[in-house]
């Protein structure tokens, strides 16, 4: 477990590299870090991440979310150490790690393609990280292993005694048991002294114990001897997670881990990740383009666009109080509806005006606007489809398409040339909406007011 702090992180891809990759081995995509559409281009290169500041707390579940090409994966890869940091500082557990190699950062990562070693069995895949590097071994864990061994040896001894074979063998077993017990006592002493762990290469037995334990937690014990080829997508996903968590990393990075699964499996794995979190103690940093994953998994989410952080906050906060138009549109489905309108200051507060339709803003919102000393101005007004309702006044529109979703209907209306969606609960009554002209309204506490130029939420 560790906190991760990103300070003024900038990532610039120099031109030179890009050209090189394109022209020689032309056809292949590989290292090319996704389409950089709206990214800023400077004389140094293409800027992928800009002034990224984030304080990830110990044990927190952070989700980086944004459309493709927004720099979220680049950020994750910089935390991992797979991508160097152009500017800024990265701290893990209080230590500056900009120049530290990934293997020495004590973090693990689950890749989008899972990146399982195809020539190794599941067991070997999971054992690989334990085999090649010294690991933090807790005395408690060692005692666990010793206990297991002792049980085995005792069993062996019993069998030998039953058979009544030569005593030399039995005394050999006895000696081993003695040896293990003395080591166990040593460990217990260390614990009593307040020592928790030491760093060393794991023995084969420890590795086996650890892998089995992790496999059990992830329900993949029965596949341990299979090669990745023989596993289904969901099973591979679990193995990839298993390989990542087997060495108790300080932080677990996940790069769109569910995007290769079908919708049903994705829902299931999402729940599994939530469960996993309660079982292992580590900081999660999770990258996704799927806002539902972001909403359901994250303690806090970081919404990104074109290399810039747009907003950081708890999912519900971001949903309720989007900082700008982009965030309001990106989080929540179907997308928020936007209207051109006016913000007008009244005696009692504020109201928004769309054509002839006027809505008084709630007290809370008005207060915030007041604090910001916002005057009358042209604004973009955003209302989520769930917050639209059929009313007598409201904005007039014609229903073009009606999608029946069971408990509700999604009405697609054309208003002033814009598509507007309203979600209308069906209350058990089937109504035909298509072709009808309706008035759609909303209340004053669900309105978001954005500046027309800067597209910032005027409440902040």
């Amino acid at each position: 477990m560790a906190d991760v702090v990103l300070k003024d992180i900038v990532k610039i891809y120099p031109y030179l590299e890009k050209k090189e990759k394109k022209s020689i081995f032309g056809r292949k995509k590989n290292e090319e870090p996704k389409k950089k559409t709206n990214l800023q281009i400077t004389d140094k290169g293409v800027v992928a991440v800009q002034q990224f500041n984030l304080d990830i707390k110990d044990g927190e579940f952070i989700v980086l979310v944004g459309p493709s090409g927004c720099g979220k994966s680049t950020t994750l890869r910089m935390i991992a150490g797979l991508e160097d940091i152009t500017e800024g500082e990265l701290f893990i557990d209080g230590q500056l790690v900009n120049a530290v190699e990934p293997k020495d950062r004590d973090i693990a990562m689950v890749f989008q393609s899972y990146a399982l070693y195809p020539h190794m069995t599941v067991f070997d895949n999971m054992a690989y990280p334990l085999k090649i590097m010294p690991q933090e071994i807790t005395y408690a864990f060692e005692i666990e292993c010793i206990n297991e061994d002792l049980k085995e040896l005792e069993h062996d001894k019993a069998v030998l005694e039953q058979k009544g074979v030569d005593s030399a063998k039995i005394s050999k077993v006895d000696a081993k048991i003695k040896e293990l017990e003395s080591r166990k006592a040593e460990c217990e002493q260390m614990i009593a002294k307040g020592e928790i762990s030491y760093r060393a290469k794991m023995t084969k037995k420890m590795i086996k114990h650890k892998v089995l334990k992790t496999a059990e937690m992830l329900n993949i014990t029965e596949y341990l001897q299979r090669k990745p080829k023989a596993l289904s997508g969901g099973q591979r996903q679990r193995v990839a997670i298993g390989r990542a968590v087997v060495r108790n990393p300080k932080a677990l990075l996940m790069d769109e881990p569910l995007s290769n699964l079908d919708a049903k499996l994705r829902n299931k794995m999402r729940a599994e990740i939530i469960k996993l979190r309660s079982k292992i103690n580590t900081t999660f940093i999770y990258v996704t383009h799927d806002q539902i994953e972001a909403m359901t998994l994250g303690d806090r989410i970081v919404v990104m666009k074109d290399g810039f952080i747009q907003q950081i906050g708890a999912p519900q906060d971001v949903f309720d109080h989007p900082l700008n138009k982009f965030v309001s549109g990106f989080i929540g489905t179907p997308q928020m509806n936007y209207f051109d309108g006016k913000l007008v200051k009244t005696e009692s507060g504020y109201k928004v005006v769309i054509g002839t339709y006027e809505v008084e803003l709630s007290k809370e919102k008005a207060e915030r606007l007041e604090n910001k000393m916002v005057g009358d101005k042209d604004v973009i007004i955003g209302v989520r489809p769930d917050h639209m309702s059929i009313s007598k006044t409201g904005i007039k529109g014609v229903v073009e398409v009606s999608e029946l979703m069971g408990t509700s209907s999604h009405l697609h209306c054309k208003i002033d040339g814009r598509d507007v969606i309203a979600i209308i609960p069906s209350h058990g009554i089937r109504e035909e909406y298509v072709g009808r002209s309706l008035h759609l309204g909303f209340t004053g506490n669900v309105v978001h007011v954005f500046d027309k130029e800067t597209e910032m939420n005027l409440e902040f």
């Binding site: 590989n30 293997k103 989008q112 990280p129 090649i132 590097m133 990542a244």
Partner: protein, 298 residues
């Protein structure tokens, strides 16, 4: 009525087509069999004649084997009638050179291909293009300068001079690079980095095992090429104790007229091709597959 006559016509058409196909097949198979017999006849004669005595060979040809196989074998191995024939040292030298060359070729070609494939160092583009360009240069262009250097440095007659150059094998590099591009996702390397492996370990533990199929193919091809190589070794090796099999056969040829036991000559030819033939017959399927994948270089 019309139906019946039509079906008769159809039947005829069908039968004619069938007959035509059968005739085509007969022609095809005959052609294949003739070619097969032609190819195998050389080897048949080789095997048959290695069982005959010198006298039998010099009298009348017969397609039947005789009973001097072991005599010829023992003769060729222990009492060669040609001063140039020393099967044991020829085999030993050929085996050392071919085995080490092919291992070096495969390992370093893979390492180089991996270096170019997985990393973005400065000048990578130029280096990749350079290796492709030098692939086209015929090998004997170097032979004059190579021999000159070897003579000056007095390193002729040493087997390592035949082995070490195989570290730089552009064609094998090219094949390995293609293979890596097709099979090794860069994420796998990154995963290994995250798991704590250093770069060299990643190559040896993750990349090489994944390249096994390509390594097997290239191992065979480079082994065969080195085993059969005559030109450079022929120029560099003069010491009778260092000669490889192809040089030995060349010397035997200039020695062959008249005084050498004929049965032994056949036996020596048989012995020198036998290892490669056996390996080929066991692995022919993958070797033939490798021919096509290797030949699309350029």
């Amino acid at each position: 009525m019309t139906n019946v006559s039509k079906s008769v016509v159809d039947n005829n058409k069908n039968r004619n087509a069938k007959i035509k196909l059968i005739i085509e097949r007969i022609i095809s198979y005959s052609f294949l069999i003739v070619l097969t017999v032609f190819c195998l006849s050389f080897f048949y004669v080789l095997v048959i004649n290695s069982t005959k005595s010198n006298d039998e060979l010099n009298s009348v040809f017969s397609l039947l084997p005789s009973k001097y196989f072991f005599e010829n074998l023992i003769g060729a191995l222990f009492h060669p009638t040609s001063q140039y024939v020393n099967i044991f040292s020829g085999f030993k030298n050929s085996l050392i050179v071919a085995l080490l060359s092919s291992v070096l070729t495969c390992y370093f070609s893979s390492l180089t291909a991996y270096g170019v494939y997985a990393y973005n160092f400065k000048g990578k583009r130029i280096i990749a293009a350079f290796i492709l360009a030098i692939m086209m240069i015929p090998s004997q262009l170097a032979s004059v300068g190579f021999l000159k250097i070897a003579v000056d440095l007095r390193i002729t007659d040493q087997l390592w001079v035949l082995i070490v150059p195989s570290i730089a094998a552009p064609a094998t590099y090219f094949y390995m690079h293609q293979y890596l591009k097709a099979t090794l996702p860069l994420e796998l390397i990154e995963a290994s980095r995250m798991d704590g492996s250093n770069e060299f370990m990643t190559f040896n533990r993750i990349v090489l095992p994944i390249m096994k199929p390509a390594l097997a193919v290239q191992m065979i091809f480079s082994f065969v090429a080195s085993w059969n190589n005559y030109y450079m070794p022929g120029l560099l090796i003069e010491d009778d104790n260092k000669t490889t099999l192809p040089i030995m056969l060349g010397l035997l040829r200039s020695d062959a007229i008249g005084k050498v036991d004929n049965g032994q000559i056949w036996m020596v030819i048989l012995l020198s091709i036998l290892p490669v033939v056996i390996v080929y017959l066991i692995l022919s399927r993958s070797i033939i597959k490798g021919v096509t994948s290797g030949s699309v270089k350029g």
